[in-house]
């Protein structure tokens, strides 16, 4: 296998391949559609590099195995979708509290409930606002191409280790199932940082403890403040967003993930029609590009937020945007995938090119 050559694989496979390239050797998960290619790939290839693939008895067991492997100092990962991610919320909250790094992949489904396997961005709130109990955040990365599924997986492991925090890749079946060419292994491989806090047995040092119970009020407060300061640091340092054709734009479209990808076609078509549209695409959903939205909204009058849901990220846009800008929201409930044509129609409406 020539790693540096282009290969046509789907987004799920790209994530799985990237995990191995990132040095992840422990993967625990439970079957759910539409992320099956991840466990399928890793059950085949992890053992080849001395890694462990374990299909857990449940979503809950799998996140707690990740917790254990991470506590032991390893790069560990799980993947699931919608309902499975809901079941992992207790474990995620514990890992955030324990300050344990790991990568969690959500190839989300149509929800709520059992829903369906069509593309959906209905898990934005759960991912970014902390779906589990307590006052915490996790870093959320939103790829928009198969190449980014690969690249952000590697980046995710690095961020997780740097900040000692769970990191989530939030994508959906458009990105998980679509195939595109990917260049793998071309860049510097990621190297896990030294983890002197990890549990390895206390040979030659005093015992280490990983826990989240703080019954003492002062210690509890202090711990929560420490977490909060970490999230502020992440907000300050780790925002990534793509600005595309914004310089001359009259309208900025804000979208992430699959919606952004589909909207690119709409913007292309709009430009062909002479409508000056640009795009701001948050790649980190937490930390959200508050400042970037703020900056752009002070200069441009119209913002169109497009999501494959009934309105979630738009709240973060509203918090950030200047009141000078008019924010229009177009949300499509999950079930049917967003179409470039309907986004184009919304762009035209915003620009008053067609009546409202």
């Amino acid at each position: 296998m020539n790693d540096s050559r282009k290969r046509l694989i789907n987004g799920n496979q790209a994530i799985a391949a990237a995990a191995i390239d990132a040095g992840c050797r422990y993967y625990f998960s439970y079957p759910i559609t539409p992320q099956s290619e991840i466990p399928e790939y890793l059950s085949l290839h992890l053992p080849e590099v001395g890694g462990t693939f374990l299909q857990a008895e449940s979503e809950i067991a799998s996140i707690n195995m990740v917790l254990g492997a991470s506590a032991a100092g390893a790069r560990a990962m799980t993947s699931s979708s919608g309902p499975g991610i809901s079941l992992k919320q207790e474990g995620l909250s514990y890992m955030a509290a324990d300050e344990l790094p790991a990568l969690i992949v959500n190839i989300s489904r149509t929800g709520p409930g059992l829903g369906g396997i069509a593309a959906s961005q209905g898990d934005y709130f759960q991912a970014t606002k902390g779906g589990g109990h307590g006052d915490y955040r996790i870093i959320v990365l939103a790829p928009s191409s198969v190449q980014e599924m690969y690249d952000l997986t590697i980046k995710g492991f690095d961020l997780a280790d740097t900040y000692r925090t769970p990191v989530m890749i939030l994508a959906d079946s458009v990105l998980g199932q679509m195939k595109e060419s990917v260049v793998m292994g071309g860049r510097k491989k990621s190297t896990p940082t030294k983890k002197d806090w990890a549990l390895t047995g206390c040979e030659g040092r005093s015992p280490s403890i990983i826990k989240s119970l703080y019954l003492d009020g002062d210690k509890s407060s202090e711990h929560n403040r420490k977490l909060f300061e970490k999230y502020q640091r992440i907000q300050k340092n780790e925002v990534i967003c793509e600005l595309n054709r914004c310089k001359d734009a009259d309208l900025i479209l804000i979208a992430f993930g699959s919606a952004a990808r589909i909207a690119k076609t709409s913007i292309e078509t709009a430009r062909e029609k002479g409508i000056k549209v640009g795009m701001l695409r948050p790649i980190t959903l937490f930390p959200f590009p508050n400042q970037q939205v703020r900056d752009i909204s002070t200069n441009i009058k119209d913002i169109l937020v497009v999501e494959q849901n009934t309105g979630q990220m738009v709240e973060d846009v509203l918090i950030s945007a200047s009141e000078n800008a008019r924010v229009t929201f177009y949300g499509k409930p999950s079930g049917n995938v967003l179409e470039a044509e309907e986004i184009l129609c919304q762009i035209e409406r915003c620009m008053n090119k067609v009546g409202t």
Binding site: A56, E57, A61, N64, L67, G68, S70, L199, G201, C202
Partner: protein, 250 residues
């Protein structure tokens, strides 16, 4: 005279938070003695569960990871898969292991995870205030069975050791008690055996310890001792349910 009984080294020199007459302290001590005996303190990683035994890390002089309620066997699995040469034990109560953690314990056992689980069965949730546990005896009054546990509606006291012993992955399953010196000495042997199984890579080992909870039983510590003999042991017999030998492993 020479000292014939002292605090094990794997136990930190601090007081327990347990209620007067609670057997948790005895069980902690026996586990620490096993760790001392096998000289594995610096290669042991303990997994604390939720409930009265959550403060494991305050008492054991080893690395410890806290697990969410019921999930200690899954957390232990994660740790052990990374450190195959370390000794990983989980310490769980009946609320934790036999209720919310049912699935985790059964599947860890079934996989034959090479870990050791110490299961404290005192027939009640302790820390949350004395609710019915799966192991609560029929007729037993708890804060959530104010009229006594009834098999109609509440079900039967769950025999965890018997259940686990049906699973191929178990190398060792035994039930012990610590309500008199003879039982304590037998418990010491069984706990040591369980750790030895892990040291010898024999797979999942498990010791259920019948334990008294005077506070939630609303009994004096002495009456609680007697209840273990009179009510618990007849229903939860003290026994080695499964024991693999080295040839079994091969």
């Amino acid at each position: 005279m020479k000292q014939v009984f002292k605090r094990p080294e794997s136990l930190r020199d601090v007081s327990f938070h347990f209620c007067p007459g609670c057997h948790h302290g005895i069980i902690h001590r026996l586990v620490a003695e096993a760790i001392d005996r096998l000289r594995i303190r610096t290669k042991t990683i303990g997994i604390a569960s939720v409930g009265c035994s959550v403060f494991l890390y305050d008492y054991f002089d080893t690395d410890v990871c806290e697990a969410p309620h019921g999930r200690a066997p899954a957390v232990a699995t994660g740790v052990k898969r990374v450190h195959k040469d370390r000794i990983v034990f989980a310490f769980q109560g009946d609320g934790d292991l036999a209720a919310i953690g049912t699935s985790e314990i059964i599947h860890a056992a079934n996989r034959g995870e090479n870990i050791t689980v110490i299961f404290v069965n005192n027939t009640v949730y302790g820390m949350t205030g004395g609710q019915m546990a799966p192991t609560t005896m029929l007729g037993q009054h708890t804060t959530t069975t104010p009229r006594g546990r009834s098999f109609l509606g509440d079900g039967y006291p769950l025999k965890v050791s018997e259940l686990l012993a049906t699973l191929e992955g178990c190398s060792f399953v035994a039930r012990v008690a610590v309500n008199n010196p003879a039982n304590v000495r037998r418990a010491r042997k069984m706990i040591l055996k369980a750790f030895e199984m892990q040291v010898n890579n024999m797979g999942f080992s498990f010791v259920e310890v019948l334990s008294a909870c005077p506070t939630n039983w609303k009994m004096t510590p002495l009456d609680a001792l007697k209840r273990v003999d009179n009510e618990l042991i007849p229903y939860f017999p003290l026994k080695v349910f499964r024991e693999k030998t080295i040839p079994d492993k091969l």
